[in-house]
């Protein structure tokens, strides 16, 4: 992920490489939990449901 060409290609796509510690099973799991905690209150406060 640190290869300059990879970084450049992603930059052209306006995308980013995730931090190295997130390109791991535990990194994904931790981020998923954090995102559930971040968005849950925002969505519930708006009172929207998709089902």
């Amino acid at each position: 992920m640190q290869d300059p060409q990879v970084k450049q290609r992603l930059a052209e796509l306006s995308s980013d490489v995730p931090p190295l510690d997130k390109i791991t099973p535990e990194g994904l799991r931790t981020h998923l939990e954090a995102e559930i905690k971040k968005w849950g209150p925002v969505i519930r406060k708006a009172g929207i449901y998709a089902d």
């Binding site: 992920m1 450049q8 052209e12 390109i23 799991r29 981020h31 995102e35 559930i36 968005w39």
Partner: protein
Amino acid sequence: MRATFKRWLTAGLAGLTLAAAGSVSAQGTFPDKPIVLVVPFAAGGPTDVVARMIAIPMGRALGQSVLVENTVGAGGTIASQRVARAAPNGHTIYIHHMGMATATALYKKLSFDPLKDFEYIGQVVDVPMTMLARKDFPANNLQELLAYIKANKDKVSLANAGLGAVSHLCGLLFQTQIEVDLNTIPYKGTGPAMNDLLGGQVDLLCDQTTQTVPMIKEGRVKVYGVTSLKRLGALPNVPTLDEQGLKGFEVKVWHGMYAPKGTPQPVIEKSTAPCVPPCRTPK
């Protein structure tokens, strides 16, 4: 695992530009049939583009085809359910974005648990977003936008690509942070929402840079800021919303790769990280 996955991802992404990854014979008996990479959204959309970026070098590295399967519907939850119930044999891999997290709040009844029913492989690509307005909208920067919204909030419309779409989530976070409820207009997908922004029928839209950077560069929309905490290489002159005063405002469309719960770790490793030196980036 960690090192091998990174190595595979490096090689995979490099394969995009270099198309040089050599084929490697499968180790042992796995994979003995094609691997299905499940994508929860339609072909041609942003998530599908990311998936197909990954599928080609992944298949090349494995010496087996990787079939992208678009299992569409219910904001990605149909695909998540399909993967949660798939045989945990390593032949089913899943890529999903932040919708994996937001489904737990958006749906009262989910037939799967994002925190219990999957094996986690890793995050792959982050796509930031941009806050846009129609070209002739009066406000020229974020401060003017906030002042305009304060004075005209009943008149300002905010588009999104549908309930639970990332544009909807970005808009929700924006409204939460500025403590204003705007007139939200849902569309069926990013395409129609962007079309109406370009046509001037709707005022504001927050959408992924993969969709918006060309419009910004061509001057077809106004841009107030990016939703990352750092400026983007592709848009060096566009400030972040955070640096303009919306402290901590950050929305990244992050993508994760998963497999059904119970998929043996060595199989996960083989299915995603078999890349040995021949397919590392040539120097």
